[in-house]
């Protein structure tokens, strides 16, 4: 029970840190504009308030099934393929992957498993939106999507029903992979 609580705390901290880092990067690059600085400062305070006070997480911590999370790398590879190999671009590549994935539950409407797949595949599709300068090939996408799948498993009870959660997890996976490559290459 304590291990679950620790995972929950670490996961919430990771989600907040990655979003704060994203805002800090904007803050650092816009030091010439006081309006943008004030705007970013205000956003940081409000998201901190949301993390601390808003009921965006379930009280009981649960894990996502591995059977569902394995679809994250499949979505990532498909999206990256559409994006880079077919030359459709990141937005169209992810949208095409998501649209195809959204029809998977129609294969068997009585299945309890299939309705969970579109979200996992769409989450992977965001990893595949990375451009060639960040993602150096299929191996990078595969590694980033495996990290994203792990984050998807541990964050089942977090940011419930909040749009952008899947994208944040993908961003966390891509950033972590990029950081590890930078440190150990």
């Amino acid at each position: 029970m304590q291990a679950r609580q620790k995972f929950r705390t670490i996961s919430i901290c990771l989600l907040f840190v990655i979003q704060a880092l994203f805002l800090v990067a904007i803050f650092v690059e816009n030091t010439h504009s006081y309006i943008v600085l004030a705007f970013i400062g205000l956003l940081s305070l409000l998201i901190l308030y949301s993390y601390l006070r808003s009921p965006i997480h379930h009280h009981k911590h649960e894990y996502e099934s591995i059977k569902i999370a394995v679809w994250v790398p499949i979505g990532a590879i498909a999206s990256y393929y559409f994006n880079q190999i077919f030359g459709l671009g990141p937005v169209l590549g992810a949208a095409l992957t998501g649209t195809l994935a959204s029809f998977i539950p129609n294969i068997n409407k009585n299945s309890a498993y299939l309705p969970h797949l579109p979200a996992a595949i769409y989450c992977g599709a965001f990893v595949g939106m990375s451009n060639a300068q960040v993602a150096h090939g299929f191996s990078f996408i595969l590694a980033a999507s495996i990290f994203t799948a792990i984050f998807l498993i541990v964050s089942k009870s977090l940011l419930n029903g909040v749009g952008g959660k899947l994208g944040t997890l993908a961003f966390l996976g891509v950033s972590l992979t990029y950081l590890l490559l930078y440190l150990f290459k």
Partner: protein
């Protein structure tokens, strides 16, 4: 004018996705992906239909704002809140850091930040997520002033 159009795209994407998701029951993924497929597909095959600036920015703003519309109605149930989140998202995207350019998931992170900002304002929270105190306050604010009946006026005279 072009910046105004981009803000409009942000607002339309978030509210249209939410409408498709909750009212037409198409599910969050299909609502976001299908609408984006139509818009981004059109601009991919007819890029000269708008200016190069709009052709560059409309697809990422549309898909990012559509992530906002994937929100559950238990968290946010007002179209005004969704529109505000769309505006905040577009502002973040137009000032986004070059450091994270090309990182997959950056649009989703911006959308999540925009939504969390709106959710931090108690007025926009779904009634199911509100405390009794905030519900009473919202009721008081939204309550329309009652018409004073003629009979009662007469009594006061």
């Amino acid at each position: 004018m072009e910046t105004f159009i981009l803000y409009l795209v942000g607002v339309i994407a978030s509210t249209a996705t939410y409408y498709l998701n909750t009212t037409l029951n198409q599910g969050a993924v299909r609502s976001s992906a299908l609408l984006t497929l139509v818009v981004a597909g059109f601009l991919h095959f007819f890029p000269k239909s708008v200016s190069p600036y709009l052709a560059q920015y409309i697809p990422p703003i549309f898909i990012g704002a559509s992530f906002i519309g994937m929100v559950s109605k238990n968290q946010l149930s007002t179209y005004f809140g969704l529109a505000l989140a769309g505006i905040i998202f577009t502002t973040i995207l137009l000032n986004t850091s070059k450091f994270f350019t090309g990182y997959g998931g950056a649009l989703g992170t911006s959308a999540c930040i925009a939504l969390l900002v709106v959710l931090s304002i108690p007025y926009f929270k779904s009634p199911r997520k509100m405390t009794v105190g905030f519900l009473q306050l919202r009721k008081t604010i939204l309550k329309k002033p009652r018409k004073v009946s003629k009979r009662r006026v007469d009594l006061f005279k």
